[in-house]
Symmetry: none
Subunit: 241 residues, 2 copies
DNA sequence: AAGTGGTCTAGACCACAAA
DNA sequence: TTGTGGTCTAGACCACTTG
């Protein structure tokens, strides 16, 4: 069974063993896991090696570390689903409808306080605001409000975005390491209603997404879909590696 | 400004500076970043410190490391996100509000054609329909319409569900292998509006989830949240463990 | 064969929070 | 005051890959 341990780094092995004890419930939430110096003794290695494993576990959110107190198992995460959010063009074409994109407005400015909040940025800098619409079969399918952090993506200032939507333009050239989605429902205000050819007050599905790379804000986008006509479908199978 | 850098660890500073060079385009995809020993000289630190920064950048996907060759800026990747859907009690408690659960109706019957569609089942059999409400701080937080396939979960017939919500009851005893989520927005009909203490027509966020185990339908649930008050937040980091 | 990154050591000093 | 984690050093050996 476990005789085949060809090559696994020690800190990875320590990480795996602790992670398994946590996920199996052997070390429940709130449990204080052994101190670094205890693990050092248990594994017969230096403190750096143990520290590397524990630091990664803390970053993954499985444990919480407190000076002077030790490291504690955090509350377990519940269901996790893999939600693939496709490019809107692909969404539309998957419905068998012709796709069209239209830029409604483009504005470059120094980040306001509100912009910084949208981006999740601490410091200000130049930003690019884009409003655009995506059509499916001649009818409005999605209204997009996009904010791009020009400090992180300066080339965006040179792009007109009249022929390519900001989404595919960004994914084609900027990597990201973290994304946060917020999904909610709202009633269409007048601007949105007009953009989507709806009556004011109609239910809309709102998807907001923030993207970072290595803790640096890249972009914030708010996508508004007519509520009844759009379903966001996610299918997943729990995997473990 | 940037004068306020009271305490930032050196490896974090190295990480930030390299990340910024990459994101700004100064170091484009394919660019070979300086070797560890060069950065060691540049920052006047030990190799471990440089290595910590570079390892994290590699884990974040910003660079790729190859022995003997060096480290290279990677090309951007495509998108896929992990959506965490919490147990409702945990959702509520995370808001710091007292949680309460209430069963509104319970009905056992032979599956109708509509039931089979909801479950994604081909054959009929006994099902259990549960309508319930979840409260946060005394106010309706979520209206749940649940259908359980009794052929797959016969013990559910013995459970009253007056003291425990179907969600946690199921997750505590029935494993699942596949789930499908559909998220949409809708206007509250009269029943929903009354259940959630809203005006008819108010925007609501709807989450529908089907669960199977080894291709056997387990349950279907429709969760309706007041749209403005609820946000479904998902945070994703493409790491590897 | 040579040079890179991957890993690890056996120390060290410091910041921080609990006792 | 004490003990924890956070960080860093100045080495070291090894695996891998390219020249």
């Amino acid at each position: 069974m476990d005789l085949e341990a060809p090559t696994q780094s020690l800190h990875q092995r320590i990480l795996n063993e602790i992670r398994d004890r946590i996920l199996s419930g052997e070390w429940p939430p709130g449990f204080r896991i052994p101190f670094e110096h205890e693990l050092t003794a248990e594994y017969g290695c230096s403190r750096m090696t143990v520290n590397k494993a524990l630091s990664q576990l803390a970053k993954a959110g499985l444990i919480e570390r407190r000076r002077r107190s030790g490291s504690f198992v955090t509350r377990p995460r519940s269901q996790a689903a893999v939600l693939e959010i496709h490019d809107i063009r692909i969404e539309v074409e998957a419905l068998g409808l012709p796709y069209r994109y239209e830029l409604a407005s483009r504005q470059q400015r120094k980040a306001t306080r509100e912009d910084r909040e949208r981006l999740g940025a601490s410091s200000g800098g130049p930003v690019l605001q884009l409003d655009c619409r995506h059509f499916a079969g001649g009818r409005p399918f999605c209204f997009e409000e996009r904010l791009i952090n020009l400090a992180a993506v300066p080339e965006a200032a040179e792009e007109t975005f009249t022929d390519i939507a900001p989404g595919p333009w960004l994914t084609g050239r900027v990597p990201w390491s973290t994304a946060e989605h917020a999904i909610s429902a709202t009633e269409a205000d007048e601007v949105t209603a007009q953009a989507l050819d709806l009556e004011a007050g109609a239910a809309c599905l709102v998807i907001e997404r923030r993207t970072w790379n290595a803790e640096r804000p890249i972009t914030h986008v708010k996508l508004v879909y007519p509520g009844e006509s759009h379903r966001l479908v996610a299918r997943f199978t729990p995997t473990e590696g």
